[in-house]
């Protein structure tokens, strides 16, 4: 005996009730449960749908689907970082690398020529704040649109959530602010050093580039990336 369409929908609800909020994982678990239930029915046809469902669910252990969800998040995080790296790398080819190089040189020269310690600290703190506050501000301003993008077509995809939450990149902006703040207590010999100027310029430019990729480049290619990652994405959009 096969499961009806209503019973399949019930299984979707069941996975949602057990903290599986992303459609991609729900689909896989629904098929798994459905196969298990059908197998149970093959041996004991009198078993009710609910009984068979509970028996299959128990096989996932005391934590239910939670381990599977947590591990899926980890694996998807890895995939997301690979995507960031793919677009980040593009900036190390001509002609884009020239822009990177120019930004690093401008910041280095600016810092190198700031002989006044307080002035230099001001520049470092200012640049760090621009990144941190810019990212946070953009994150809040775009909140509504991002939430809409996340549940486009009525379905929430795990990678989609990462893409439109900017992959938690605001944490990176926080790191850049901490970096800026730490210069307030830095000793003079650290600040008045060409290696500090160059290192700060490289780190700042890298953080800015990663933020740009996560906040603008990847979300603009959201649909494409979801279709590339999930073969079921296009099928379900047409349902």
């Amino acid at each position: 005996m096969k499961l009806s369409q209503d019973q399949i929908q019930e299984l979707y609800k069941f996975t949602r009730a057990h903290y599986v909020e992303h459609y991609d994982l729900q689909t896989e678990l629904v098929d798994h449960l459905a196969n298990g239930i059908e197998q149970q029915w093959a041996h004991s046809p009198k078993l009710s749908f609910d009984e068979a469902k509970q028996m299959e669910f128990k096989k996932f252990g005391v934590f239910g689907f939670m381990d599977v969800v947590a591990e899926r998040q980890k694996a998807m995080g890895k995939k997301y970082r690979k995507i960031i790296w793919r677009f980040f790398k593009e900036w190390f080819q001509l002609p884009k690398i020239l822009i990177m190089f120019l930004v690093i040189v401008i910041i280095s020269v600016l810092l190198y020529n700031s002989t006044d310690e307080e002035w230099k600290q001001g520049i470092v703190l200012g640049l760090s704040s621009v990144l941190a506050l810019g990212a946070l501000g953009y994150f809040f301003i775009t909140r509504k649109n991002r939430e809409l993008d996340m549940i486009k077509g009525g379905k929430k995809w795990m990678l989609g959530e990462m893409i439109f939450q900017f992959g938690g990149i605001t944490l990176l902006s926080n790191f850049s602010l901490q970096l800026g703040l730490s210069t307030i207590h830095a000793e003079g010999f650290i600040l008045n050093n060409i290696w500090f100027d160059v290192s700060f310029a490289i780190v700042w430019t890298s953080v800015a580039l990663v933020s740009y990729v996560a906040m603008f480049v990847i979300p603009s290619k959201g649909e494409e990336l979801l279709a590339e990652t999930y073969p079921e994405y296009k099928i379900t959009q047409n349902l």
Binding site: K2, L3, S4, Q5, I8, T27, E28, L29, V30, D31, H32, A34, N35, G36, Q39, K59, F60, G61, F63, D67, V68, E71, R72, K74, A75, M76, K78, K79, K82, Y230, P231, E232, I235, T236
Partner: protein, 112 residues
């Protein structure tokens, strides 16, 4: 039931080997196949199988295909080119491991 701790480290290799032989397979099918081959001695738990599949997919060793079967969507996994290479490497490691374990558990004493 077999001691799952002893098998845990080999789960990924088992999956790669099954997919190499079976072409494309879905999660439930893999659990049943293992049960069938080992005559019910080894049961891959659901809580271990899917994390392993997702990890292998994120590493680029597996690729996913989706088909509509019996009014629901089914996710099939199959080996990528990189997955085929990795399967061979991991099988060699596993065979070495089995050989070493055999020697440790059942040493063949010789007098020189």
């Amino acid at each position: 039931m077999a001691n799952s701790k002893l098998y845990k480290g080999s789960l990924n290799t088992i999956i790669l080997k099954l997919l190499d032989e079976g072409g494309r397979m879905y999660g439930y099918e893999i659990t049943q196949k293992v049960k069938e081959i080992t005559k019910g001695e080894l049961k891959i738990t659901e809580g271990a199988l899917y994390p392993a599949l997702h990890k292998l997919e994120a590493e680029g060793l597996l690729v996913v295909e989706v088909a509509k079967v019996d009014n629901r969507l089914r996710k099939y996994y199959k080996l990528t080119e990189q997955g085929v290479k990795e399967k061979t490497n991991r099988l060699v490691e596993l065979e070495d491991f089995i050989r070493n374990m055999e020697q440790l558990v059942n040493p063949k004493w010789t007098i020189n």
